[in-house]
């Protein structure tokens, strides 16, 4: 009884203390105080603005007056399937898939080494080495690459000195990959994309491999699996959530990028640069909004495929 009385007197201390015991007694209130501001921010600013933007995709754009009127139409979405626009979508999609595949192949060994063979300082070094390029301005890096890949640039110099110039000419001659120089070829654009997005692939894969208990690998070997079998049957399936997360980054970042396609590679729009041109130069916000829908739909399709393949079963 005495004890109960004591706690009650403690509860009616200063106003701050009263507040803290109120929050303690009502955990739901506490939780909602914590969650409501970020949820409002997320709901209103992220989802709200995105939905408002997509809604504009149904507005009408008058080619003559260049004016947008809020009359709902499916014309913009339909226009996506015109050959010119459809080409842009396919070109971007192809690049996004190629970049994701290449980034995955390059990232996996590095991530595996980081997760399983490095400790302490070496691991910190690798983290910094992977993230260092992300600290520099993205546009500067993209510009730098135009110079590196240009005729007479560093890449050309290496190729010449290694005696690979004929090979490069051969590769640049392949339609769909090549171009007149590396910096104006699809191949050059692909290289820059892979370079820029690689850290986004390495880190999630590294995190998923980090969570892989070493004794699963021992158990696999113990049961008679050769290293290649252990890789296929245990390591790869358990790292797929990381690969999926990384590829969602590389895939969606490539789909939405509008700077690299302008600086490196042959002329021709990407989805991102098309959105930029539509709403910036032309002022056709409804068409830009319609194009914005494309990456969202593509990523949704991609995720459902990944899910169907069982990538998230181990989560």
């Amino acid at each position: 009884m005495q004890l109960a009385l004591d706690t009650r007197t403690a509860a009616v201390g200063g106003p701050l203390r009263r507040l803290s015991s109120l929050l303690y007694r009502k955990p739901n209130l506490y939780l909602s105080l914590l969650l409501v501001p970020p949820l409002l921010w997320f709901g209103a600013i992220y989802l709200g603005s995105l939905l408002a933007l997509l809604w504009q995709g149904f507005y009408t754009f008058d080619d003559f007056t260049m004016a947008v009127t809020p009359e709902l139409t499916l014309a913009n979405l339909g226009a996506l399937f015109q050959p010119a626009n459809y080409d842009i979508i396919l070109r971007t999609l192809g690049m996004a898939v190629a970049v994701s595949l290449a980034a995955g192949l390059l990232a996996f060994p590095i991530a595996y080494y980081m997760a399983r063979y490095t400790r302490g300082k070496t691991k910190a070094f690798f983290y910094i080495a992977v993230m260092l390029p992300m600290w520099a301005s993205y546009i500067v890096k993209a510009y730098a690459w135009t110079l590196l890949l240009a005729k007479g640039g560093v890449a050309q110099w290496f190729v010449d000195h290694l005696g690979l110039a004929p090979l490069l000419q051969l590769v640049l001659g392949i339609p769909g990959i090549g171009g007149s120089t590396l910096s104006t070829s699809h191949l050059g654009r692909f290289l820059v994309f892979v370079y820029i997005w690689l850290p986004f692939m390495i880190l999630p894969i590294q995190a998923s491999l980090e969570r892989l208990p070493p004794n699963l690998l021992q158990a696999s070997a113990d049961l008679g699996a050769r290293p290649a079998q252990t890789f296929r049957q245990v390591i790869l399936p358990l790292s797929i959530p990381g690969i999926a997360a990384g590829s969602i980054f590389t895939f969606s970042l490539t789909l939405g990028d509008f700077i690299v396609p302008q600086l490196v590679g042959p002329p021709g729009y990407f989805i991102g640069s098309m959105v930029y041109a539509q709403q910036g130069a032309i002022g056709n916000l409804p068409m830009a909004a319609a194009f914005t829908l494309v990456p969202i739909v593509l990523i949704a399709i991609y995720l459902s495929i990944v899910k169907r393949l069982g990538a998230f079963d181990a989560l």
Binding site: P213, Q218, A219, D222, L223, A225
Partner: protein, 347 residues
């Protein structure tokens, strides 16, 4: 009888630390062999040396007569049951069990049939479609066992497999494991730090201490005839008498071991011809149900423990009180003379 696993002067060093130090053992085929010792005594490293997860720094390991040093785990005809089971989380129970057969290229139908059979053997028929996360600790343990046994290894290694289970389940698994081992005739090498587990299950036990083997013997000999004071004190409890007391009671400098339950508190009866006694102050009495323990402080300051069965109501604890001077008595034949290995010496 053929030798399943043979260690000859095997050492394993990690930097400065000698985890295993010149160990030699012969483990017979079909034997239930336990490696017992406190943590860090080298028993688990020995198991990992047999499995191939570690390679020895020196010495030779032969498995069924063939030199195993240098062979990778997947090249050895042994399977391991891991302490924390190490089940593959992305596979269901049946796929976990069939894994060893799959990687060896056994066909799908046979694989399935044998996995089902193994699942039945550990009394988990019908659980094949579940994921490991949906199982309890005891069930995971059985799956890990079935996953190892389905490969029909000639040697099964068990790394403290019962450590994570609660007492009741552990006792049940102990008798099931023992039964399974007799039925299959496979050599079991069982690592544990639990001396009662080792005694109750094994044909023979090796007691490890600081990377060395102190004694390899049957459970009965280990308990009744411990070779060293470490064994005497680690396997069960023991009173080890040294120096002047050893000289007086045993006639030599060698330490003497006497089990508490082999001693009794003397009454007024005369000392028998084949008996010895020692006296001191009774300073603690612990009633333990089946027995009562009496802690006696001897005149040289050492503690001595007497354990007496509580055979009749009213007898025992009620008759004694702390602070009394009491005499402990036992048969001369119950004492064991120990020969301790000096640290760093060659056994």
């Amino acid at each position: 009888m053929t030798i399943a696993v043979q260690f000859t002067q095997v050492s394993r060093q990690f930097g400065e630390v000698k985890a295993v130090d010149r160990v030699s053992i012969d483990i017979q085929e079909g034997e239930f062999f336990s490696m017992l010792g406190p943590s860090g005594s080298g028993k688990t490293t020995c198991l990992r040396l047999i499995a191939g997860f570690e390679q020895p720094s020196a010495g030779s390991i032969r498995i069924h007569g063939a030199e195993a040093v240098g062979l990778a785990p997947y090249q050895r005809d042994v399977n391991t049951v891991f302490q924390d089971y190490a089940l593959f989380p992305h596979m269901n129970v049946l796929d976990n069990i069939a894994y060893g057969l799959k990687v060896k290229g056994v066909g799908k139908t046979e694989r399935r049939a044998r996995a089902e059979e193994a699942l039945g053997m550990v009394a988990l028929g019908g659980y094949g479609a579940r994921k490991p996360v949906q199982l309890s600790g005891g069930q995971r343990q059985r799956v890990a066992l079935a996953r190892a046994l389905v490969n029909r290894p000639r040697v099964l290694l068990l790394d403290e497999p019962l450590g994570a289970l609660d007492l009741k389940l552990r006792e049940q698994m102990q008798s099931e494991l023992k039964k399974l081992q007799r039925q299959l005739g496979i050599t079991f090498i069982f690592v544990t730090h639990d001396q009662s587990e080792a005694l109750s299950m094994s044909d023979r036990v090796a007691v490890f201490n600081k990377g060395r083997i102190e004694q390899v013997d049957t459970p009965r000999n280990l308990y009744m005839r411990p070779a060293t004071s470490f064994v005497a004190e680690f396997v069960g409890t023991s009173n080890v008498l040294r120096g002047g007391l050893a000289l007086e009671l045993g006639g030599s400098e060698r330490p003497l071991s006497i089990r508490p339950e082999h001693t009794r508190l003397a009454g007024s009866e005369a000392l028998g011809g084949d008996e010895v006694e020692i006296s001191g102050l009774l300073h603690d009495i612990q009633y333990q149900g089946a027995a009562t323990r009496y802690e006696i402080r001897l005149d040289n300051g050492q503690n001595f423990c007497v354990s007496q069965a509580n055979t009749q109501w009213g007898e025992g604890a009620a008759l004694r009180s702390t602070g009394q001077r009491v005499t402990a008595r036992w048969a001369r034949a119950a004492m064991v003379a120990l020969h301790d290995i000096a640290p760093g010496a060659d056994a």
